[in-house]
Symmetry: C2
Amino acid sequence: MLDEGEPHGLPGSYLNGVYEDRPLPAGEASYGRPTTTQTVINVTNGKLIRLFVNDEPFDVRYGSLRSHERALDFRSGILTRRAEWVSPNTESVRVTSQRLVSFAHRAVAAVSYEVESVDQAVQVTVQSELLANEQLPAADGDPRGAATLDHPLASEYHDGEPNVVVLVHRTQHSGLRVGAAMDHLVDGPGGLRTDVRVAEDAGLVTAATTLQPGQRLRLVKFVAYGWSSTRSLEAVRDQVWAALSSARQAGWDGLVAAQRDYLADFWDHADVEVDGDAEIQQAVRFSLFHVLQASARGEDRPIPAKGLTGPGYDGHAFWDTEAFVLPLLTLTAPDAAASALRWRQRTLPIAMQRAQELGLAGAAFPWRTIAGQECSGYWPAGTAAFHVNADIAHAVIRYVAATMDTDFERGPGMDILVQTARLWRSLGHHDGDGRFHIDGVTGPDEYSAIADDNVYTNLMAQLNLLTAARVAEQYPDRARELGVDSEEAAAWRDGATAMYIPYDEVLGVHPQAAGFTGHQVWDFAGTPPDHYPLLLHYPYFDLYRKQVVKQADLVLAMHHASDAFTAEQKARNFDYYEALTVRDSSLSAGTQAVMAAEVGELDLALDYLGEAALMDLDDLEHNTRDGVHIASLAGTYVALLAGFAGARYESGAVRFTPRLPDGLARLAFTIVLQGRRLRVEVKRDSARYLLVDGDPMEIAHHGTAVKLTAGKASAQPIPAMAARARARQPAGREPARRRAADGTTVGSVPPAGE
Amino acid sequence: MLDEGEPHGLPGSYLNGVYEDRPLPAGEASYGRPTTTQTVINVTNGKLIRLFVNDEPFDVRYGSLRSHERALDFRSGILTRRAEWVSPNTESVRVTSQRLVSFAHRAVAAVSYEVESVDQAVQVTVQSELLANEQLPAADGDPRGAATLDHPLASEYHDGEPNVVVLVHRTQHSGLRVGAAMDHLVDGPGGLRTDVRVAEDAGLVTAATTLQPGQRLRLVKFVAYGWSSTRSLEAVRDQVWAALSSARQAGWDGLVAAQRDYLADFWDHADVEVDGDAEIQQAVRFSLFHVLQASARGEDRPIPAKGLTGPGYDGHAFWDTEAFVLPLLTLTAPDAAASALRWRQRTLPIAMQRAQELGLAGAAFPWRTIAGQECSGYWPAGTAAFHVNADIAHAVIRYVAATMDTDFERGPGMDILVQTARLWRSLGHHDGDGRFHIDGVTGPDEYSAIADDNVYTNLMAQLNLLTAARVAEQYPDRARELGVDSEEAAAWRDGATAMYIPYDEVLGVHPQAAGFTGHQVWDFAGTPPDHYPLLLHYPYFDLYRKQVVKQADLVLAMHHASDAFTAEQKARNFDYYEALTVRDSSLSAGTQAVMAAEVGELDLALDYLGEAALMDLDDLEHNTRDGVHIASLAGTYVALLAGFAGARYESGAVRFTPRLPDGLARLAFTIVLQGRRLRVEVKRDSARYLLVDGDPMEIAHHGTAVKLTAGKASAQPIPAMAARARARQPAGREPARRRAADGTTVGSVPPAGE
């Protein structure tokens, strides 16, 4: 959104955890169906600064722009805008604004706004606004969008004093109290006049003066937010006052310096360098920055599918967080990963109550939620997608493997592992031959549902059960506390050992779920290109009963449960599912990149990487207006690390199988692993491993053990690879090629922008 | 409902086909999901007659009742009420009312209301009312209930003249115009005074006089209804005027005589005599009468699941009509069966449009509807239950087999058969071995959904495809008209011939659908008795993935596709599914009775017959307040004929395998079959067949061919039967026994009543 509010792409302002309850309607009621849902709300907007030049509103749709540029600097975390505008009345001004949402001061945002007269004396008025219940564009009915809640905030308090406005509101049903405040520093030539106006839903600080050519008016705006479900009006009001004071105390320069320091440290641990494809280089940093923004200061709150960039999916968090976002955070900002998992642990009582309601043991985490309650009204793709529980457990396992954080493991980690293991044990059953089945569930692929023995679900549940049994043995005091006895742990081990994994002997592939490979193959040839995504043009009943895959499911199983498949099985399965996968979900391309790289399809992997990386920068799904796709962004990172570097560490052993496609010349990155910083640099023929700090460690490079000691780099040759026929995708659903036939990279660096 | 309106059980008044549209809300929208639904509305109430005795309202909750009796005479079709009431002020009156909804005059109802002073002079006032938008009790949230539409009728016209009131209203969204009118004959001692009042939603004709002991005031009320979606206000108004004139012309006695004549003819064709169980004897006549009421004057309109007796299921018609109600009508009132099927044929354009929307060929009939549009918002148990299409086709096949009505077969019948065959051909697919599968559909059992190769669906689709191919050959001109060529007919034959019917070789039973017998068996022992019906206490996800059966599915397949199973398979399948079937649907007991009788469990069959028969008379499911269960009532008849008489005629050959349980001494009935009237009388040891009229015919009695000529009875011995262990039902779900251990019949004839 531009400073002046209009025209806008995504006008909303969002605070993590601030939502409203609304009824979840149903034509036919049924037992266990939630009757209310939660929707993220557009909170008080503190970004607005409107400018008037001789009473003419500064609006880029009118007058003419001599130049206009917006640049987000990932290193400083500052969005800078420079515009030179000629008003319809021919006065010209130069506007320079900078804005930041502070990483260091979690409740603070700030704007520096400067206007300069170019070639004649002009009277300028700058209005800085704090606006609640701002009008938003109406929803368009796309199920992936959001409900628009009209006027969600009820005023509780408003006050103004020179340069300062405070507004406190409350949501009507969820009962959350939201405070917002702003303060200003104004600097300009003599004759400057400021005033303040305040009403229930709006506060306005105005500065007006006359600028001679070359003179400037500068306004620094500090914005503070605070919210609570329990604290009093006075407490919330004082909280935003305090945040405002801390911001003023730091000053604009102090906030900028702290932002730079925070990000310097992050990039030092997390940066990824990609040579040979400038667009991907930019995209991966864009991804890292946005994922960090969505999660760094979550403080035990969920990471929504859209972060805080838009109202898409009602602001809900899904399994995306654990399956796609935490792999990035675990290696780059492990504290943020732990914080996101602690949020899950905090909601265990709600999840345990849900399990009980469903007649199950342990905990059943919600398919979509803000505060922990199940918010999905369509159970075949919601409640039935029990894999979310194993994804959460897997994120715990991955986090612990990467960090060796045993305090976390025996604390919140074990709470989660035990309650999810209990769920799986009660969800599955043995057949007459003693095989353990999990029937009637939905896997990651949302174009199938309510199937028996989904391979992804069964393998992830197996891992969940085995790990729960292990930690119960490892931490007997905690096991006692949680009521786990040796019989229960044995039952988990038994369920895991007897887990049935269907396999189609005739085709030589794993069916996504029992019976899948016997279904009719979707008529791809008869599907017009404009009928994608299929879910908007075909009924679920038809999608569910045919072989068509929305997003990696069996292929994701081959990444997340890598050891359960032989290399031959992976290759055959990959080819089989490539021909069925339409990627109507942004969650798919990153995983397909990982497995394409593993089976040796490096060019294809690069194409998928490109798709994941440019999802939002190029608005590939035409819905970036609802917010960026945090999981797809994270998938960019995962595609590079797990794909082209072949990094696997989740089971405890650290292994790399690096190999670059022709389109990339070099890949280098630093990760935080097992308490050490490890730098990896991959070139076409060799890889170089450098343990930056920490105790010696052993890794595997293409199956060869390599011992690393701090400060001593080890170069390893990359073995040659057998050629392989390129896998085929459904007609028209091939990913865009990153490289033209002549070897040049397709696409170009898009203009910089937010 | 009592004449005076209160207290009431079921206060509504319903006209077949009069509904309002209302939005069908969804939390998550999806392609192909209907966004509006149709709800039957409570139309203008013409039944009300209120009485005041010296200004004291006649209300059975106050004062005291010396006697009160209501009797519905199935022979006359008249509901008679006799009450002697002493007012709180000690005046006593005798009230006698009679009411009828005319079978002969389809738009007319009438009431004769008589009040007599018993022992002192009293001033009596009788108010006859016509009341629109009557207040109804609110809905209770049970998904089987109905939406209450507040104030559905907007007034368009109201007028009154001495003794007469006319009201015309219109529904707001569906745009249906509803006219109602009343006229009165009043007869009483001198000093009688009448007046009329009329407003938009109410008309009142009042008669007041003073009655000496023994004197009577009598009021005959004629009520006429008319409605239309297309005709003008004036046309609808004149239509009810005309109906009122015809009623007056006939007079009360004329209406009564016509009602008697109509019913005498019906009973002559349809009566069933049951000796040895008076309760069942009463119940089967109650059933026949109510089914007749629901269907006799449908005139190409649907037969709703509750008939016109209540707002349950929003007044929707389901597959119940074709699968359970039409078997009764086909043998007793074949014109009514044809009329119901013509309604389906009339809605073919809507069903063809729906199929197209779903990406299928032919016609996809709605799961629930009033006017033909799909009204189910929960597709796993709605749209996915494609068997409704085969049920409709099967009803056509059954009707033609019973009536030999070739005009119907080559006309509306063939339209239906061809479009449903096209649906099946496009819904199924061949596997690599050439077997034809129908994946991802829902069978009759609503505790399973979205399964592959549901045996019931596949067998019924097979019959549908074969019959469509046959009629295409038989009526080549019609086939050409419908665009059926020999390739298409061949494709139908091929799909039918290659139809895959799963069989569990290990257990030696047919799975209800592929994989069903591998699922976990429901924990019946752990299910408390008050947790039935399960759908109100467990989520669908849990029900769907376990072996638990709401209602006959595979067992219904063994009735409707009798020849697809050997006797041994039937016996084993019956036992297997008995142990899983909880009968949470009223549609189940009748079918279980039929198959129990066929496999030789005669006592169990009688128990199920009792349950079907007493569903409403004893309010077994505690929801008769929403209306009677028309299909369960019809199931009583089917249980006797297809069960204890073993009647099968659907394939063209007429076969009987009569055998009575110890609880019944004699079963006799007359049916209309192949243009003849056939009377069958079954006793313990022998059966007697009498062709009442028509050409000679051949039937089979327990496998022996018997030639029948008109007027000459043939007695046949009933062969002895091997003893069989009683099948077991889930704990606590055994049907109530009809006979105590000492052989006496359990239960007694309930007091006569409506």
